[in-house]
């Protein structure tokens, strides 16, 4: 193979450096703000922290409510529960629904798939008021159950589409072989189909988790009590109408992104498999 020309090498590296800088700079900048002892919005060319203080982190982590209970812990718990349950519920329902939609044709199947797609087309803002009224009637405002239900209305259809698409790629022969081997439909599903769909299930669960974890508008609308807040709502509170605590906001932003980053890190192997799955025939 011929070595590429020096000009090309330099140009390639220059472009890569520029792109890398553009990607990393904002992150470093937020880190710098989080570590700075002030709450001001500092703009500087140097993204590296000049002073290091953990005061902002301590302030965010240590928030308390009126009764003196640990508020941040409560809110972190809210976010984890809402996102975790949304993901688990979404995937559990989508696995069975997606499998049925993939393997059986029944009256209304295509309409159902169409309706599922339709739910993805409305932004949260549009649904905020009707959902507020619905939850109010059901007595589920300020409740995590209510928020999980609301998130599931969008994650379940999305997850169902995703998993149905993956089930479509699993050859029917495998199920037929299992049924001849003496497996019932359920055993075939749990012992043959689900293990094969694992990469897709992981990716779908992660997407559902992240959607719920990052969602702000509906959470802000439906959760009035600060003890029911999820973390995005908490973050928003630091940059209010009458003043902004940029240091706390930055520290909070980093804290909020840590669990998702960790999850990505743990699941990255499955993630790559899941994203490429279907492209290669096993």
């Amino acid at each position: 193979m011929r070595a590429p020309s020096p000009v090309r090498v330099v140009a390639t590296h220059a472009a890569l450096v520029a792109i890398t800088a553009a990607t990393i700079f904002p992150v470093l900048w937020v880190l710098k703000m989080a570590l700075s002892p002030s709450q001001s919005f500092t703009m500087s060319a140097n993204p590296l922290p000049t002073e290091v203080s953990t005061a902002n982190f301590a302030a965010v982590l240590g928030t308390q409510d009126a009764t003196g209970a640990w508020l941040f812990g409560r809110q972190l718990f809210n976010s984890l529960v809402v996102s975790g349950v949304t993901a688990a519920l979404g995937v559990a329902l989508a696995c069975t629904a997606g499998y049925a939609l993939s393997r059986w044709s029944f009256p209304g199947r295509d309409r159902m798939m169409g309706a599922f797609l339709l739910t993805q087309m409305f932004p949260g803002v549009v649904m905020a008021i009707p959902l507020y009224l619905l939850l109010d009637t059901l007595g589920l405002l300020d409740s995590l159950t209510g928020l999980v239900l609301v998130y599931s209305t969008t994650t379940v259809p999305f997850a169902t589409w995703n998993l149905k698409g993956y089930f479509d790629t699993i050859p029917k022969d495998l199920e037929e072989a299992a049924m001849l081997d003496g497996a019932s439909r359920w055993v075939t599903f749990t012992r043959v189909i689900l293990p094969l769909a694992r990469p897709a299930i992981v990716v779908t669960a992660l997407f559902a988790f992240m959607t719920a974890w990052n969602e702000f508008i509906l959470a802000a609308t439906l959760m009035g009590d600060e003890r029911a807040y999820t973390l995005p709502v908490v973050l928003n509170g630091y940059v209010g109408e009458f003043g902004a605590e940029w240091g706390n906001f930055a520290a909070g932003a980093i804290l909020v992104s840590l669990p998702v980053t960790a999850l990505f890190f743990v699941l990255q192997r499955h993630l790559v498999e899941g994203l490429t799955a279907g492209g290669v025939k096993g």
């Binding site: 072989a177 049924m179 081997d181």
Partner: protein, 319 residues
């Protein structure tokens, strides 16, 4: 060990009828080959035995028990798929033992070991299907069926994904397995050579209709109609449309070159070492002759050692 009995078995998909009144008795331990061109209904018939397709008319019995409405898992039949359909997430050992593990069978481990030994798979037991060659996967698929000791083995074109030399050796292997196990077997192929070499009896299907059932010799020497005559044997039977009232059929082996009533011109010679295929023109028609030894050229006289006669309209054999 089991018999199979088909009485007027039919299969329809809506208005389309893919199997027409199949009547067939399969004896215990018999090796039956279903053969025919693609779309003839042979795979559908096999899938009906497995229970993967529902029968829409008639009656199917396995060992005397009516199974029309029996689920696949309750029929005690094992099937080797064209794609092998090995479970990708299980090792060879788990693939072969899957059925017995579902039953919590006490001999599961020993039976898998025995079958692996028999098929030369012992050293591959902990591999995954993706780590195996095509031939090895094929043997695992066979092993998965053998381990179960089912009443009936079903094979759906199991050799079609193998290369030619491997296909020959697996064919011999299949014959050997059947001689040892004597399990009733139904085997689907579109390859008439496989049918002739493997079968105790062959069922020729065309357009969802059974054309003839018989031993390889019966089908080869006494075809009931023009379709069977043309399908069985390689190269196929010559059909001469214009030398008599009926269509005249002649096997390439039965064409004698030297003396005879017909004048022919040698057009093409395909040499195959020991023998040659000589393409002759008789009037406006073309005829293939299998010739051993000296290859003729130019204009020759031709005679037929044996000729079959088929009805021009129906294709039925008339002599």
């Amino acid at each position: 060990m089991a018999t199979l009995s088909f009485a007027g078995v039919e299969k329809r998909y809506g208005a389309v009828q893919v199997l027409h009144r199949v009547d067939l008795e399969v004896a215990d331990g018999e090796f039956i080959v279903l053969v025919g061109p693609s779309g003839c209904g042979k795979s559908t018939l096999l899938r009906c035995i497995a229970g993967l397709e529902e029968i829409t008319g008639g009656e199917l019995r396995i060992d005397g028990r009516r199974v029309n409405d029996t689920a696949p898992r309750d029929r005690d039949v094992a099937m080797v798929f064209q794609s092998y359909a090995l479970y990708p997430h299980m090792t060879v050992r788990e693939n072969m033992g899957f059925a017995l593990s579902l039953q919590k069978h006490p001999e599961a481990v020993a039976r898998v070991a025995d079958a692996a030994q028999m098929l030369g798979l012992t050293h591959l037991l902990d591999r995954f299907p993706r780590e195996l060659s095509g031939g090895q996967r094929q043997r695992v698929a066979m092993g998965r069926a053998i381990v179960r000791r089912p009443k009936v083995f079903l094979f759906d074109e199991p050799l079609s994904n193998l290369d030619a030399s491997l296909r020959n050796s697996v064919r011999v292997e299949l014959r050997r397995q059947h001689a040892a196990l004597r399990t009733t077997t139904v085997y689907v192929t579109h390859d008439q050579t496989e049918a002739l070499t493997l079968a105790d009896r062959i069922v020729v299907l065309n357009g969802g209709i059974v054309q003839q059932v018989g031993t390889p010799d019966e089908l080869y020497f006494e075809p009931r109609n023009r379709f069977v005559a043309g399908f069985i044997g390689s190269p196929g039977m010559n059909f001469l449309e214009r030398v008599a009232d009926d269509v005249v059929g002649v096997r390439p082996n039965d064409v004698r070159i030297g003396a005879g009533p017909h004048e022919a011109t040698v057009e093409v010679v395909e040499k195959l070492g020991f023998e040659a295929m000589v393409h002759l023109r008789v009037g406006t028609e073309v005829l293939v002759a299998r010739v051993e030894g000296a290859v003729p050229s130019g204009t020759v006289r031709v005679d037929f050692a044996r000729a079959y006669r088929f009805d021009r309209a129906t294709g039925e054999r008339r002599g």
